[in-house]
Amino acid sequence: MESLVTVAPIIEAHRLRPGALLPILHEVQDALGFIPPEAVALIARELNLSRAEVHGVISYYAHFRQIAPGRHVVRVCCAEACQAVGGEALAEHARTRLAGSDVTLEPVYCLGLCACGPSLQIDEITLHAQVTPEKFDALIEALEAAT
């Protein structure tokens, strides 16, 4: 229940905002990497919602995770503009390369880097464009080496 120490002040900071649930969930996930089950009951109680409603929102949105991700999260764009320049081959390569790795691979449907695909995002902030399988391997090696 250590996570609740983190979650409680987040709820407190946002609870009076109109439509507070998404901002709360974002901040919880930003702090913990995911939204732990024990946080659901607390958020529900504080926002006067049912647990089912909170769970329903978490599970509806692709962005929110219910289990802890790996050490890093790599999101590879799988949308049309990247498909036109080898995005599917890159995604397939990424699946093979990251099998059994502690780097979590997620699909993303467009990063807005459509004139310089295939593109990917690491840990929600670092972006890379025109990613070839070779460039992908180099990026992952750097991630793994950095620990």
Partner: protein, 532 residues
């Protein structure tokens, strides 16, 4: 000598001028260098270039002013470094960090010759041929500086709006002919008038910046490159409809845009007057780009489409009258107010007035943002601007308007880029959408793309209506059987598409058939269909 990285605002100066600072008691000329911090530029290594420039300048003992601007929109030239010289802004690109010492050696601070030198930025034909309105300041201003925004002509629309009656502001928007730039192309003035005419103690202005269509990035570029323009447009909308609170709903895939907007809001001072704006992050749901699903999401719920009526203009966010517009629609408003509705209306063709920021994407040689008046042909965009495919192979298909847009074969490349011409195409009600144009070369398999369209709908369907929720999954299965050789299933696919088109609650389910059927119609060979 100290190398400083600072914004124009903190130096109290405009980026359009050569700047001078005091060093060791005397005035020293300090050259301004622009290195974009746009997400596309960052993805292509702009941060490393900026760091290398700062380091190299320090090594030479040269004082520079490094500004992180937005992108000029020529993505194939990113990172595009610009230097302010006596001859104006000179561009170099695409610059890699290892090019930087060579650039200094070549005297690029005074516009010196170098293999990467592109001459005066404004004279690059790709840029000079455009007519930018909404995007006129992107890449030119320091996005964090209100002073710079005002110096480059910003704020004039809001200033004028403050002296106008709400109905007069709405009239100006109506007379401009501006239509919703999110894809539906609904006349903006009618929406604005409805909100104005609906009495309520609390109304809202909501900006739809949930730019989910693949192949589109104009919202992102504007939010990152000229955020004050959007804030100004929203404040004008607030005055027009009687709202004091605005929300910008930005997709979570755009963290840099969220940061840029928050930085602009923090530096807005009293620019927006009484109007308050809050940035809210989406959470990876494509359907939340549909206006009623977006409102549900803003309220903290699952982003599920609402049945209309009631229209959001009458009962929207938290049940209040809500003006919800696409980001580019709102960002077009300051210019309309500043230069008059007639100047905007003068541009374009037919019932499509003004300009649209098109976005060239996918397998295209010169990809980027092309803001031009409606009326060019698709071919002109693809070849005169885009230069054909990036791979060098022939272009075989182009998808216009995102995942719900039609696949066009080369025989339709002469279609004029306006809303009506695209709506009339094959009679399927295709659209220009948000202006995204994704090019594919001749290695594309259109049956695979059709399958993806159904798959994407299955992943992203909100689940409220059956044709979309179930139809998309059945669609994937049927296309799989067709691709396995059972071409008798093509008829079934067509019937399924008919059901989705007629029976779905929103565009997600009703327009997914457009890419599927256009692929089937124009590329039957990819489906193994020999009936033609």
């Amino acid at each position: 000598m100290k190398v400083e990285t600072l914004t124009a605002e903190s130096a109290g100066e405009s980026t359009s001028t050569l700047t001078r600072v005091r060093g060791a008691g005397k005035a020293i000329a300090r050259t301004t260098i622009f290195v974009p911090a746009d997400a596309a530029a960052l993805a292509l290594g702009a941060d490393a270039v900026a760091a290398a420039i700062a380091q190299e300048a320090a090594r030479h003992g040269i004082a520079i002013r490094l500004v992180r601007n937005g992108t000029r929109g020529m993505v194939w030239l990113e990172p595009l470094v610009e230097v302010v010289t006596a001859q104006g802004r000179i561009a170099y690109g695409p610059v890699a960090a290892q090019d930087v010492p060579g650039l200094f050696a070549a005297g690029f601070l005074t516009g010196g010759a170098h293999a990467l030198c592109l001459g005066a930025t404004d004279e690059i034909p790709w840029l000079a041929r455009q007519q930018r309105l909404a995007c006129r300041r992107i890449g030119i201003v320091d996005p964090r500086s209100l002073v710079d925004y005002i110096a480059c002509g910003g704020g004039e629309g809001l200033r004028r709006a403050r002296a106008m009656a709400p109905a007069a502001i709405v009239d100006a928007v109506t007379e401009s002919g501006l239509r919703g730039r999110g894809g539906a192309a609904f006349p903006a003035g009618i929406k604005w008038r409805t909100v104005l005419a609906t009495p309520a103690a609390q109304k809202y202005v909501v900006c739809n910046a949930d730019e989910g269509d693949s192949g589109t990035y104009s919202d992102r570029m504007l939010m990152e490159g000229d955020p004050f323009c959007l804030l100004e447009g929203m404040a004008i909308a607030g005055l027009a409809v009687g709202a004091t609170q605005g929300y910008i709903y930005v997709r979570s895939e755009y963290p840099h845009a969220v940061d840029a907007l928050n930085a602009a809001l923090a530096g807005a001072g009293d620019f927006l007057g009484e109007f308050r704006i809050e940035v809210r992050k989406g959470a990876g749901s494509y359907v939340c780009g549909e206006e009623t699903a977006l409102l549900e999401s803003l309220e903290g719920k699952r982003g599920i489409v609402r049945a209309k009526p009631p229209l959001p203009a009458i009962s929207g966010l938290f049940g209040r009258p809500t003006l919800i517009n696409n980001m580019i629609t709102l960002a077009s408003v300051p210019d309309i107010l500043a230069r008059g509705a007639a100047a905007y209306r003068e541009l374009g063709c037919g019932r499509s007035r003004g300009t649209l920021p098109f976005q060239l994407a996918g397998n295209i040689k010169y990809g980027g943002l092309v803001e031009v008046p409606f009326g060019l042909t698709l071919r002109e965009l693809l070849y005169d601007f885009g230069g054909g495919s990036r791979s060098g192979r022939p272009l075989r298909a182009v998808q216009v308007g995102g995942p719900l847009g039609a696949y066009l074969p080369a025989s339709q490349f002469d279609t004029v880029l306006d809303y009506e011409a695209f709506a009339a195409l094959d009679g399927v009600g295709a659209g220009l959408g948000h202006g995204g144009i994704v090019a594919f070369d001749d290695t594309v398999d259109l049956a695979r793309q059709a399958r993806y369209a159904m798959k994407f709908c299955a992943i992203e369907s909100c689940g409220k209506c059956t044709p979309c929720r179930i139809g998309s999954t059945r669609g994937v299965e049927v296309i799989d059987r067709i691709r396995a050789g059972d071409t008798r299933q093509i008829e079934l696919l067509q019937e399924l598409c008919e059901t989705m088109t007629q029976g779905s609650l929103c565009a997600m389910g009703s327009m997914t058939p457009i890419p599927v059927l256009s692929a089937l119609r124009h590329f039957p060979e990819d489906f193994g269909d020999k009936r033609t």
